[in-house]
């Protein structure tokens, strides 16, 4: 009978009655001020560590655009002689601790421009050269109705300067071995990119396709010295295809890890011999960068400084809040 009468009575649960146990963070002084203090100190600690680490990274940058302020490679800048070889020399007074990484850097180069960035065909790069390249690749889609492999602006504009490094020891040039293996992401090399498969050689696999317009060699001949470093799996190609987020960027070219240079570049004079092919001088600059890395990656002072600044601000804020709190606390409690 009772239940009959109360047929419409709502359920008594914490949810329906909005009585769910809850935790409500309160911005109380006991919580906020020490919080700021702790965060401030922690951040300063992290910041200092980052900063020192960053300071310990050695970086050597050489602009070789050949125009303007830096004149290295100016003889090649007009792009008249092809190929044009130029030298950039530098000397080290201390050991450049290894492993040393050699990067090329481009600035004001908009790899992140949308039309540029979409101008590729991931399916093709995954080994399917028989299909017609995606429309996004236009105008580097076809030549004479034959598909371009790899198609698109990114591939077409692949960076094609080459570098070789020599140490000058007693007037003779000693080649520093540059290691070009494993400079791309593992996932790019093993999964994202794939060479077309065919009976026979790689060249057969690319049969029926055209090389990109700007390329001097077809994809399967990118690295004549290493048969496995060709086609879509060429390491330099992979690195290039991972487009940069910002208009100033640097990309890994080689590592110096072997031979006499496994521990780094010893003090001395060096010559970087550059085959100057890549034309950016009309809109940007190019440079070459030697750097080593730490646990926090490459040289970037910003993060350390930012942590220190934010940490300091936190400390300042905690003092300000303490003052305010002390001043208003009592007036408040009376209210």
């Amino acid at each position: 009978m009772k239940s009959q009468q109360a047929a419409n009575r709502p359920d008594n649960t914490a949810f329906t009655q909005q009585r769910l146990p809850a935790w409500q963070p309160m911005l109380s002084a006991h919580f906020v001020i020490p919080g700021f203090l702790l965060i401030g100190m922690a951040f300063i600690g992290i910041g200092v560590a980052l900063y020192i680490t960053s300071q310990n990274i050695q970086v050597l940058e050489k602009d070789y655009t050949g125009t303007g302020q830096y004149t290295a490679c100016s003889e090649c800048a007009d792009m008249q002689t092809i190929p044009c070889i130029c030298n950039v020399t530098f000397s080290l007074t201390t050991l450049f601790t290894g492993p040393v990484f050699l990067y090329y850097g481009l600035s004001n180069y908009y790899q992140n421009y949308r039309k540029y960035q979409v101008s590729r065909d991931d399916v093709q790069l995954w080994g399917d050269v028989t299909k017609s390249p995606g429309d996004a690749c236009a105008p580097y889609q076809y030549i004479d109705n034959k598909p371009i492999a790899p198609c698109g602006s990114i591939a077409n504009s692949m960076f094609n300067d080459t570098f070789s490094l020599y140490q000058i020891i007693n007037g003779t040039m000693k080649l520093v071995p540059l290691d070009g293996k494993g400079i791309a992401w593992w996932t790019d090399y093993n999964i994202k990119f794939r060479n077309p498969s065919a009976q026979g050689s790689l060249q057969d696999a690319f049969n029926g396709t055209m090389k990109p317009v700007n390329w001097s060699k077809p994809a399967y001949e990118l690295n004549p010295s290493d048969m496995n470093d060709n086609g879509f799996l060429n390491q330099d190609f992979l690195v290039w295809m991972r487009t940069a987020a910002l208009p100033d960027f640097q990309k890994l070219y080689r590592r110096i890890t072997s031979g006499d240079y496994a521990l780094g570049l010893p003090p001395g004079d060096y010559v970087l011999q550059i085959e100057y092919n890549y034309a950016v001088k009309d809109f940007g600059r190019k440079k070459v960068v030697f750097s080593n890395v730490t646990w926090m990656g490459g040289k970037n002072e910003f993060l350390g400084v930012a942590y220190i600044v934010v940490g300091s601000l936190c400390l300042v804020m905690s003092v300000v809040m303490l003052v305010v709190y002390a001043k208003y606390k009592f007036a408040d409690e009376n209210a």
Binding site: R255, L303, V324
Partner: protein, 1138 residues
């Protein structure tokens, strides 16, 4: 849609016959769609909404290759989801709500006091009186059980021809063919859906219209579509956002044009398409950015708002503290789109009877022959009287003793009460009496009299049977001198079994006193004192008097009376004259005090609401005294108020004078032109009458007839201004139209949210006119509830509805909106900043899948968690501090200001979210020397930062914990999945971000960047809030702080004793009495312990119609029935159209 139906023909009990016409069944549905039309129709409707159309437009932009900056799925997925959710909601709204399997042509039985739940008009049994009387009488005579009645009715071979379904409540035409004879059917012979059966235990009916076709449903389409102020605000903001969007896109388009110009040499590597120059590229970029930045107008906004409102509506339905056990009625949110407005109410317009009061009267005190009874505290034992009503209690033994001793004046007093009324008695079994009284007052008096031993048992048109102290006596009823608003009294003329002729009269004190015999002078003084006492206790009073009459005189009088009652001209006047003539030189018997019980907690609720700065205006059809009395009783008017102005002028000038005087008294320096100035300056702009502060507290009581003048154009501002200066406003004797007009007036000139609460049909117009209408689901029928937005059983639940549910809903909605705009602006602005670093090429910062899923998946649950679970303080604290309600009234949580702050905040956050990763990743590499500053890694970093920002919460229930951490987990799970080898191998082109998560999120500097970004976004806000709390704590901060310091307050259960010395009104409802019904010749003659019978002469059908109420609002008191439902609807329409 129906085929046009011109007439309807149906056979009783012949479903097969009736089915061929395909009449609507008794399922109420909005029935817009069927299975096949649903999809196209629904989609068509949905795309008519501007937001959806906008997204369709975006979708079209996206398939243009030159413009497309995002894959199609980024828009399609949310759009489809939104459309699907809306479609599902529409479909569920559209699904049949089965009531009862009743079809046209069925004969059904209705029971007393039940709403006509089968939702059909029924043609009625007063047919029984006219046409099939014999059958029905035969049934009564045989005392057959109900089941037999069914059997006989089952073969009832009537055929009805009637009009097609229409929405006219006051009209019905048709004929019944039965046994070869035709009987006409008119409006008085049908029962409409939604009405309540009264005064008879049951009746039979034949279903004529069902479901959709019922007149009530035909009327329902007229309900206005209400929008909340947040809605309106949102619309304005969306427009602003569109402008912002356009500005941003123009800036970026121009930027693109310039970039294309300057960086022309980059075309070496990225040749332009044919025919695209810098300017055209800029133009295309404009559209591309429209697509990318469309997230500032998030598609999910409207859907989310709806879902949140729906959720908060369910909380109202589920609230046990708004459930009324006695009538088993839970609160109901009938409109699910107005919740947050409940947190912004500034004005409440309340009906009185049944809303503030229970509409249940109890006989509390009486004064007989100069002695006052009912002042003790111990309850009287009525066991000596076998016919006593066990529910009745009275607290004075001396009265019982007096009755037992047989004091003649006491007997006479109760005899009067047992005879002078228009109640009807039902005796289901011996001694089990049930009175059906026209007004609760009468019911109370007759019940009291019954307990004291003067039991009214039955009546016929000519006779009243009363058990007087156990002896049955039959009084001849010679005349009923009925009640009306002018007479304010009623009398009966009876002949006792001994043959003594008497006139018994009861009425308002002032009226009856004028007609007393001089010899009563001394008694009058004593009784007056008692009356004052009763009134001081807030009781409604009546004075009783009698007069013995001569046989000869009465014969003469009766003859003239009969002539007058059949007169064609001036019938009323002639009768009045006759009444005046006989109702004089009466002898005073005594007085009664009846308590019009306030509902529980009314005064406390009103006190709470006024603490929350809500102004309560009572709009009642009652008389001024009654209304004032209630005003005192529920603490709206107080003795200590500086002044209470009464406006009762009978001409426009008088009313204006009174208003002006009141205004000057409250604010002596107020100048007369204020109101006109406000009008003049603002000109065409929305006119707003500002609140003017006054010293002291004032009350305003305004009469219906004065209100009519005051609501006229030139004076309405004067009225509003004066009324708004007063703390309390009571409008009495108002018509439903005026109720609506008052609401409209406030709505029009005050930038404030209004709420109207009522329980009767006369409140419908007001309920519909106000921003929010609340219906009390009480005894008055369903009409108020049906047109309301929220309904519950008791007035006191209003405080919970507003102070708890309303406040929370508002808080949640505002928090949601602020958060939602913040979240999406931050999201979008990052794109804006990035444009400067990607050649304005409409490149996105984030992965396209992230863009697709950001609102729909990653942040949906935290948003939902916040907007369904967030509380600043719990309900007890909300009651403890009604002031917490004030920010809502002032729109403080979501206004243009807060929106601007929100934009600024998101600009800051977006700068942080973009530039910190930018600077941290600039020319850096992984710890193995490989690339980490590539586009995809940067995208992942930025979006992760953004997402973590989006998970900020203030109130953590277990569910929100789950939602927040769950969302974060889902984010990482989905991200790793989408960037996994498997997904790439299966959908190569759709998931190009393969491996990014693995290669990026294992880097220390990436995590340090995320940490830095988050801290940099969150800490300034924390510091700002903390300082604000210290320097300028809001009421919320204070209360929240206190909740931490002390345990929650106990639920308050204080009853405020009222201490009023006011004179009371008289205890009558203000409608015409039942007099002519009682003496009607059609009145069914029955033996004293009669069978239950349905009777309702054609002249009257009080109590059988949906709009009837005991205290009618009609100033004339005539025909307070269904005709008026139509009028109120019509009046309402007139108001709306005006």
């Amino acid at each position: 849609c129906y085929l046009l139906e011109e007439t309807r023909r149906l056979k009783a009990n012949d479903r097969e016959f009736n089915q061929q016409y395909n009449y609507a069944t008794n399922a109420i549905k909005t029935s817009k769609y069927n299975v096949f039309t649903f999809l196209p129709l629904n989609l068509f409707e949905q795309f008519q909404r501007i937001a959806n159309a906008y997204f369709l437009f975006l979708l079209i932009l996206q398939v243009i290759p030159q413009i497309s900056s995002l894959s199609w799925f980024t828009t399609v997925v949310p759009l489809v989801l939104v459309l699907a959710i809306t479609a599902a909601k529409d479909a569920s709204d559209d699904i049949d709500e089965k009531w009862m399997n009743v079809q046209v042509g069925d004969i059904i039985k209705l029971e007393n006091n039940k709403f006509v739940t089968v939702q059909i008009p029924v043609f009625l049994k007063n047919l029984g009186c006219q046409t099939i009387e014999r059958d029905l009488l035969f049934l009564y005579g045989c005392s057959l059980q109900v089941i037999c009645n069914y059997l006989l009715l089952y073969i009832f071979p009537g055929v009805v021809d009637c009009e097609a379904p229409n929405n006219r409540l006051d009209r019905f035409t048709g004929t019944l063919t039965y046994n070869g004879q035709k009987y006409s059917l008119d409006n008085e012979k049908i029962l409409l859906r939604g009405c309540t059966l009264r005064n008879t235990e049951w009746c039979f009916g034949l279903v004529i219209f069902a479901g959709q076709d019922t007149k009530l449903m035909m009327n329902c389409g007229k309900a206005t579509f209400k929008r909340t102020s947040v809605d309106r605000m949102m619309n304005i903001l969306v427009l602003c956002i569109f402008v912002l969007l356009a500005i941003m896109c123009i800036i970026l388009a121009v930027g693109n044009g310039i970039w294309e110009q300057q960086e022309e040499n980059f075309t070496t590597f990225l040749p332009r398409q044919d025919g695209v120059n810098a300017a055209f590229s800029g133009f295309l970029t404009f559209w591309s950015y429209i697509i990318i930045l469309n997230t500032v107008v998030p598609i999910s906004l409207y859907v989310s708002v709806e879902i949140i409102r729906l959720g908060n509506s369910f909380y109202i339905d589920w609230d046990r503290k708004m459930y009324y056990a006695r009538s088993d009625t839970p609160a109901e949110a009938r409109t699910t789109t107005l919740n947050e407005e409940l947190g912004q109410i500034k004005y409440i317009f309340s009906d009185k009877t049944g809303t503030l009061t229970q509409n249940i009267m109890t006989f509390n005190k009486c004064s007989i022959n100069g002695k006052s009874y009912g002042t003790e505290t111990e309850k009287v034992d009525f066991s000596y009287n076998p016919l006593a009503d066990p529910k009745f209690s009275f607290c004075d033994h001396s009265l019982v003793e007096a009755v037992k001793l047989g004091k003649p004046e006491v007997h006479n007093f109760f005899r009067l009460l047992s005879l002078c009324h228009t109640a009807m008695a039902e005796e289901k079994s011996e001694g089990n009496l049930l009175y059906q009284a026209q007004s609760p007052d009468e019911g109370a008096l007759v019940t009291a009299t019954r307990n004291f031993g003067f039991v009214f048992r039955s009546r016929t048109p000519e006779m009243i049977t009363v058990m007087e102290m156990g002896i049955q006596r039959n009084y001849d009823l010679l005349a009923i001198l009925d009640f009306n608003n002018v007479r304010k009294r009623m009398s009966v003329i009876v002949r006792s079994p001994e043959g003594k002729l008497s006139l018994y009269c009861k009425g308002a004190d002032t009226i009856v006193y004028e007609r007393l015999h001089e010899s009563c002078k001394r008694l009058m003084d004593v009784t007056t004192e008692h009356l004052n006492e009763f009134a001081g206790d807030g009781l409604r009073t009546l004075v009783m008097a009698y007069r013995d009459l001569e046989e000869g005189y009465i014969e003469d009088w009766k003859q003239r009376y009969d002539e007058a009652s059949t007169a064609l001209d001036d019938r009323e006047e002639k009768l009045d004259e006759l009444y005046e003539e006989i109702e004089k030189d009466m002898l005073l018997l005594g007085a009664t005090g009846i308590e019009d019980k306030l509902q529980d907690g009314v005064s406390q609720t009103i006190e709470q609401l006024s603490k929350a700065d809500i102004k309560i205006w009572v709009l009642t059809g009652d008389k001024q005294e009654t209304a004032e009395n209630i005003g005192y009783a529920c603490n709206m008017l107080r003795e200590e108020m500086n002044d209470i102005f009464i406006v009762a002028g009978n001409s426009a000038e008088e009313v204006k004078e009174e208003l002006r005087a009141a205004c000057l008294k409250m604010k002596p320096d107020s100048n007369n032109d204020d109101v006109t100035i406000a009008k003049g300056i603002l000109g065409k702009k929305l006119k707003v009458v500002e609140d003017e502060p006054v010293n002291g507290e004032y009350g305003l009581v305004i009469n219906g007839h004065s209100l009519a003048y005051a609501l006229e154009k030139p004076m309405e501002l004067e009225l509003l201004r004066t009324a708004c200066m007063c703390k309390t406003v009571i409008c009495c004797r108002v018509t439903p139209l005026q109720k609506a007009q008052v609401v409209q007036l406030v709505k029009k000139y005050k930038r404030a949210v209004t709420l109207a609460i009522g329980d009767g049909a006369n409140d419908v117009s007001m309920i519909r006119a106000a921003h929010i209408g609340v219906g009390i689901s009480g005894q008055e029928g369903m009409q108020a509830v049906l047109s309301s937005d929220f309904s519950f059983a008791q007035f006191r639940f209003l405080q919970r509805l507003l102070l708890v549910h309303g406040r929370w809903s508002y808080l949640r909605m505002c928090k949601f909106l602020r958060y939602f705009f913040y979240k999406n602006f931050t999201f979008t602005f990052v794109h804006f900043w990035y444009a400067f670093f990607c050649g304005f090429s409409a490149q996105t910062v984030y992965d396209e899948w992230f863009i697709t899923l950001y609102n729909l998946v990653y942040t949906a649950l935290p948003v939902l968690g916040m907007s369904l679970f967030d509380q600043d303080v719990n309900d007890r604290w909300s009651f403890q501090y009604p002031q917490l309600y004030v920010p809502g009234q002032r729109n403080m949580y979501f206004s243009k200001g807060t929106f601007a702050a929100c934009v600024v905040h998101s600009i800051y956050s977006s700068l942080v979210v973009f530039f910190i990763p930018y600077a941290a990743m600039y020319n850096t590499v992984r710890n193995d020397g490989k690339d980490v500053a590539d586009y995809q890694s940067f995208a992942l970093l930025a979006q992760t930062c953004l997402l973590i920002l989006g998970l900020e919460m203030n109130y953590w229930t277990a569910v929100t914990h789950f939602f927040v951490w769950g969302s974060l987990a889902i984010y990482f799970a989905i991200t790793f999945t989408m960037y996994s080898n498997g997904m790439f191998l299966i959908f190569t082109s759709a998931f190009p971000f393969i491996g990014v998560a693995r290669n990026t999120l294992n880097q220390a500097n990436v995590w340090l960047t995320i940490l830095l970004t988050t801290i940099l976004c969150v800490l300034p806000v924390v510091a700002y809030r903390f300082l604000l709390m210290q320097l300028q704590p809001t009421i919320n901060d204070k209360v929240v702080r206190q909740t931490k310091a002390s345990p929650p307050p106990p639920p308050r259960r204080t009853r405020i004793r009222r201490t009023s010395t006011r004179r009371s009104g008289y205890a009558f409802s203000h409608a015409q009495g039942y007099g002519d019904l009682m003496t009607s010749k059609r009145f069914l003659r029955r033996p004293p312990a009669g069978r239950t019978a349905a009777f309702s002469p054609p002249s009257r059908s009080t109590g059988f119609l949906p709009t009837s109420r005991s205290a009618g609002y009609s100033p004339t008191g005539r025909q307070p029935n269904h005709a008026q439902a139509e009028t109120s609807l019509e009046m309402y329409r007139a108001v709306r159209e005006a």
